[in-house]
């Protein structure tokens, strides 16, 4: 896997800039943070820009050997909404598998409900995909999967 540390800076004109480096494969998050803090004073001694943050990224190969169906299309996306009613968070999945959406009614082909997902045999996956994760705000998901939409960029 590839491991990369990137430092973000800004100059007096508000121009953001960055530079990065690859770290050894055995580097964990704690070691990367310690290294970033060790680098920090040396970078600040060399640069009059100001550091605004850093990022440690681990990149893994997908190892997905499935053939891609002819109907796969990243311009189509499935937006899943997880809600308690007062709070909602969403997750986007590109090129959804066919058969998830309702087949009758005014939202046929567009709206994914718990019933239509169950009919496609994928309700468990839609509920499980958020387990162990949090929303962008770092909060627990507000509720189980409630509804989804299939959209297409023309």
């Amino acid at each position: 896997m590839l491991k990369r540390l990137t430092l973000f800076l800004v100059d007096n004109n508000g121009r953001p800039t960055q530079f990065g480096m690859f770290l050894p494969d055995a580097t964990g998050e704690a070691a990367a943070l310690a290294f970033a803090n060790a680098l920090r004073p040396a970078v600040l001694a060399l640069s009059s820009a100001r550091i605004t943050g850093a990022e440690f990224r681990i990149t893994l190969a997908g190892a997905d050997t499935r053939a891609i169906p002819a109907g796969a299309d990243s311009r189509r996306s499935l937006t899943l909404f997880y809600s308690t009613g007062s709070e909602t968070a969403r997750l986007v999945i590109p090129s959804p598998v066919p058969g998830l959406a309702e087949t009758v009614g005014p939202f046929a082909g567009y709206r994914v409900t718990r019933e239509s997902a169950a009919a496609a045999g994928l309700l468990a996956e839609l509920d499980a995909i958020t387990v162990g994760t949090v929303t962008e705000a770092g909060e627990p998901w507000p509720g189980p999967f409630s509804v989804g939409t299939i959209d297409e960029v023309v």
Binding site: L9, V10, D11, N12, F19, F22, P24, T27, G28, E29, A30, A31, L33, A34, F35, A38, L39, R40, A42, V43, A45, L46, S47, S48, A49, R50, I51, T52, G53, A54, E55, F56, R57, I58, L60, A61, G62, A63, D64, R66, I68, P69, G71, A72, D73, S74, L91, V92, I93, P94, S95, P96, V97, P98, E125, I129, T130, T133, V134, G138
Partner: protein, 168 residues
């Protein structure tokens, strides 16, 4: 003053591609404090659920830990200019490759008169290069290149403007 990773949720991004090589992304966040081993275990768990929902092929997964700057943003000198860079050229694997880094808005202290070249032994430059080569990442494990080969020394340093190929 330091970086901190406290309360910054790491992000997990799954990169996919369709039959026409168009990219598709799904991003999600993990609880603050999730370590690398736990993250990788989770990725293997969620992979199957995710692949059941998309026709695209998964080509890459990125796990990103953001390190927040916990000190207030200090005054930025008017002379700070991102386009004026210190270009550092490092040897990889004892001369069998190179890695280039560009540090933006380089301080004037490292410059010498009438030249763009910077002495690699200049104290500020040497201190930085030593961290890159020796690292603080483990027993003599410093920074590596994209193939995992060790950076072994600073070959050359100079000042550049706008791009690493343009010189005063």
């Amino acid at each position: 003053m330091a970086f901190t990773g406290v309360n910054t949720p790491p992000s997990l991004t799954l990169s996919t591609v369709d039959n026409n090589r168009r990219p598709g992304l799904t991003s999600m966040y993990l609880p603050s404090g999730t370590d690398e081993a736990t993250t990788l275990s989770f990725l293997n768990l969620i992979r199957d659920e995710y692949l059941a929902l998309t026709q695209n092929r998964l080509i890459r997964a990125n796990v990103t830990y953001g390190f927040r700057e916990d000190a207030p943003l200090a005054v930025i000198p008017k002379s700070a200019e991102s386009e004026r860079k210190l270009v550092l050229i490092f040897d990889v694997d004892n001369g069998r490759g190179i890695v280039t880094q560009e540090i933006p808005s380089v301080v004037f202290d490292v410059e010498a008169d009438n030249t763009d070249e910077v002495d690699p032994a200049q104290p500020l430059v040497a201190a930085y290069a030593n961290l890159i080569v020796q690292g603080a990442i483990g027993a003599n494990n410093g920074v590596v290149n994209q193939y995992g080969l060790q950076i072994t020394g600073l070959r050359r340093a100079f000042i550049a403007h706008n791009s690493s190929n343009r010189r005063r």
